[in-house]
């Protein structure tokens, strides 16, 4: 076991550090800034372009696809160094790199790869994910949006929901039902869709945070050329799995608890500070222990990946604990600061961050695999326990109640 960089890794790190020092500062956002969405997307695209020019866009993507063909360790090293700057890295970039490219790379044709990979790496194309529907979330295979083949195009009708950043995306990855006579998972087909296509209507949904960065997306007689189908008809579920695997592996662990300790130390309490209080120490130390465990657990997962092994549902453990810990500890830190955290009398950036985290943690516990779903995955796929009884098993979709 060795936690130090190998000589090659150290060299790569030094190179990355130098490159970032030169290029990142010009793209940094002012701390605590809230930008309007369009501005944020523009800045995100510009940074992505910079990464492309530097040869750092798509580190894990194979060379044949136009990526760097690097190792997972290189991706981690880059990520660690990049995080030291406050850069615009939103889902509008992440969905393209982490979801669209892997699925196009694996299931797409050469033509599709040619059309989409390079512009996405360059930040010229942004993407949204059109998977979830009002009646299909955790149960994604229940999607009802229909595509019917007409000549050399598919005509799509239905409704998607929670489409993050769809209002600022050029293209979408879309899963729809092409065969209602087949059982749920089998009748699905995957597409990429130009978000400017006639018949697409995007309506913002207001979130509890006050922002509206996700949407309802209505599709009415949207014509998608056959050439934008990814994989074969009926291959939609396999494509979704490719996307969701990518989603899981991208989840990184950011150390937060140290900052909370500082926050406690900045809170006076009984002639000392809150950090001197035994109860505060116990809770923050417990959280810190868990956070460290997650960091080293992730290192184990990355080691597996670098050896070509698939961590599968083990990766769910990271997300499950991260989301809950974020909720638990941001709520706790508000309690530690006390009433001033409910309504600070001066603009305190850490307090604002806690509000953000306490709200955002609720979304994290739901999106991309909700807690309960992840627990099922861990118990069924890691522990080998039987799945829940399913009323929909083996039943053609159109015969389901």
């Amino acid at each position: 076991m060795d936690f130090n960089d190998t000589p090659e890794e150290a060299e790569f790190r030094a190179e990355v550090k130098a490159w970032l020092a030169k290029h990142a500062p010009g793209h940094e956002l002012p701390p605590g800034a809230t930008l309007d969405d369009a501005d944020e997307v523009a800045r995100g695209k510009a940074w992505q372009r910079e990464l492309y020019d530097g040869g750092y866009a798509g580190i894990l993507l194979s060379k044949s696809l136009g990526g760097r063909g690097g190792t997972i360790v290189e991706a981690v090293v880059f990520d660690e160094e990049e995080k030291k700057y406050n850069l615009p890295k939103g889902p509008y970039i992440g969905i393209g790199l982490g979801m669209a490219l892997p699925v196009i790379g694996k299931h797409g044709t050469d033509e599709q790869i040619k059309k989409f990979v390079e512009p996405t790496l360059k930040g010229e194309l942004t993407w949204c994910q059109l998977f979830s529907e009002p009646a299909a979330g955790s149960d994604l295979a229940a999607v009802r949006t229909r595509a019917v083949k007409e000549g050399d195009a598919y005509v799509v009708n239905g409704q998607k929901v929670w489409s993050s950043w769809a209002h600022h995306s050029d293209w979408g990855i879309l899963v729809v039902r092409t065969d209602p006579k087949a059982v749920k998972h089998k009748g699905l087909t995957f597409f990429v869709v130009d978000m400017k296509s006639p018949g697409i209507e995007i309506r913002p949904i207001r979130q509890i945070s006050g922002a509206s960065d996700f949407n309802e997306t209505f599709l009415s007689d949207v014509r998608i050329p056959e050439g934008d189908r990814i994989g074969a008809e009926g291959e939609g579920w396999a494509c979704c799995m490719t996307v969701l695997m990518g989603e899981r592996l991208n989840q990184g662990e950011e150390g937060r608890i140290e900052a909370l300790m500082q926050y406690a130390a900045d809170t006076p309490m009984e002639g000392a500070t809150a950090l001197d209080d035994p109860a505060v120490r116990l809770s923050l130390a417990t959280a810190y222990a868990e956070e460290r465990a997650a960091k080293y657990f992730q290192a184990r997962l990355r080691t597996m990946v670098s050896r070509g092994e698939n961590p599968g549902a083990l990766a769910a453990m990271m997300k499950l604990t991260y989301a809950s810990r974020l909720q638990q500890t941001s709520g706790l830190a508000m309690e530690i600061r006390g009433m001033d955290a409910l309504a600070p009398h001066e603009d305190v950036i850490p307090t604002r961050q806690l509000w953000h985290d306490y709200i955002w943690s609720t979304a994290l516990r739901i999106a991309g695999g909700a807690d309960e779903v992840l627990r099922n995955q861990i118990s069924e796929r890691v522990l080998g326990m039987p799945g829940e009884m399913r009323a929909d098993k083996g039943v053609p979709f159109d015969e389901l109640k």
């Binding site: 309690e335 006390g338 009433m339 309504a343 739901i366 999106a367 627990r375 829940e388």
Partner: protein, 372 residues
């Protein structure tokens, strides 16, 4: 043994629940947030018409002269509805402080007006990072003038009267201050709870009248906060119960993998555990409400116990209710967020859990002897 609410108390609760259910619907709450409203003034008027603000205020001062448990059942309904009214600030806190520490003139001057809802009061105790109730206040009262900063103060934008925790000749004290004068600066703060506004109050030689009986009475002040804790806990119990049933109803309607979401054990157990926590908190609340009226010697432990159990129940309930809703729960159009935010207010307003843990342990019978 009869450890149940009396018929009249049940009726009172029903009446409050009916009115709040009708006038303080989730849509109404959204409307208030959108309008940036400080409070639901028409609702306050309706509550006042039925005498709710005066429930615990003695009849001689225009109230109904009811007890702490009666007030508790109303607090519970306010919590269930996340109503945007200053019931806690004006009645639970300010009126109680005046009632317990005020002179006859002070009571005569203010209690009738608080009882009928015409005047809104608040209690200013916190001092920013120094805490919810600093041992020695940095706000001083000298020769009838108050100076210093209190922050954050709930509902201080609509209040015209504040009871201010301050220092008088080096001793802790409460002073009455009218907020409408030139010598008080009120600054609205950006707050986490969208239905209860908080303010920073700066006093500059503001005319103030001491609540004489409060001066140096540390035990009495603690009892006041015990009583506040009982009512805030009732509020939390109402909120927690609302969350449990909201989650239950949603799960019953939602189909996942060909089954009702409510049929999954993970969801059933989650909600069952929270219901247990809520019923336990309510039981502690009943006892604390009763003790507050009938067994003052037991109040400290009862108030601390209910505080700890009610915070815990509401915290779990508010979080898991949103969780059970999935993506919908994260939207403004769903009703989960009112509780998710209000829960933090109730958990934090009365100081850290350590304070209450300490109060509980030092007052558990037998322990007093040891530490004395």
């Amino acid at each position: 043994m009869n450890f149940d609410l009396a018929e009249e108390q049940k009726m009172l609760a029903e009446q409050a629940r009916g009115l709040l259910g009708k006038q303080s619907s989730p849509d109404r709450l959204r409307e208030l947030i959108d309008a940036g409203a400080e409070w639901d003034e028409p609702l306050w008027a309706s509550l006042s018409e039925l005498g709710f603000p005066g429930a615990r205020i003695p009849e001689e001062y225009g109230g109904l002269g009811l007890g702490d448990l009666d007030l508790g059942v109303i607090s519970e309904e306010v919590g269930r509805a996340v109503a945007a009214v200053p019931f806690y600030a004006s009645i639970v806190c300010a009126a109680d402080a005046i009632q317990r520490f005020g002179s006859d003139e002070q009571k005569e001057a203010w209690l009738p007006r608080l009882a009928c809802g015409e005047v809104v009061g608040t209690l200013a105790h916190a001092e920013g990072r120094q805490g919810w109730w600093p041992k020695s206040s940095s706000v001083s009262c000298r020769a009838g003038k108050l100076s210093g900063v209190k922050t954050p103060v709930g509902d201080a934008g609509i209040a015209s009267l504040a009871v201010v925790y301050c220092a008088y000749e080096g001793k802790p004290a409460l002073a009455l201050v009218e907020l409408d004068g030139e010598t008080v600066e009120r600054r609205k703060l950006d707050g986490f709870d969208q239905l209860r506004a908080h303010y920073a109050l700066t006093f500059k030689d503001t005319p103030a009248s001491l609540l004489e009986a409060s001066v140096g009475d540390e035990d009495g002040l603690r009892t006041l906060t015990d009583r506040m804790s009982v009512q805030a806990s009732f509020e939390a119990v109402g909120g927690a119960e609302a969350c449990v049933y909201m989650a239950r109803d949603y799960a019953m309607d939602r189909q996942i993998f060909g089954r009702s979401l409510a049929s999954y054990q993970a969801i059933k157990h989650k909600l069952a555990d929270i219901l247990v926590a809520t019923e336990f908190a309510r039981s502690n609340a009943f006892f604390a409400g009763w003790a507050s009226d009938n067994a003052p010697a037991e109040l400290a432990v009862a108030a601390a116990a209910v505080r700890l159990s009610a915070i815990n129940a509401y915290e779990q309930a508010a979080r898991e209710n949103l969780q059970v809703h999935g993506g919908i729960g994260y939207t403004f159009e769903a009703d989960c967020h009112f509780h998710y935010r209000r829960e933090r207010t109730l958990a934090i307003t009365l100081g850290p859990r350590q304070y209450w843990a300490d109060r509980l342990v030092t007052h558990v019978p037998g322990k007093q002897m040891e530490t004395a």
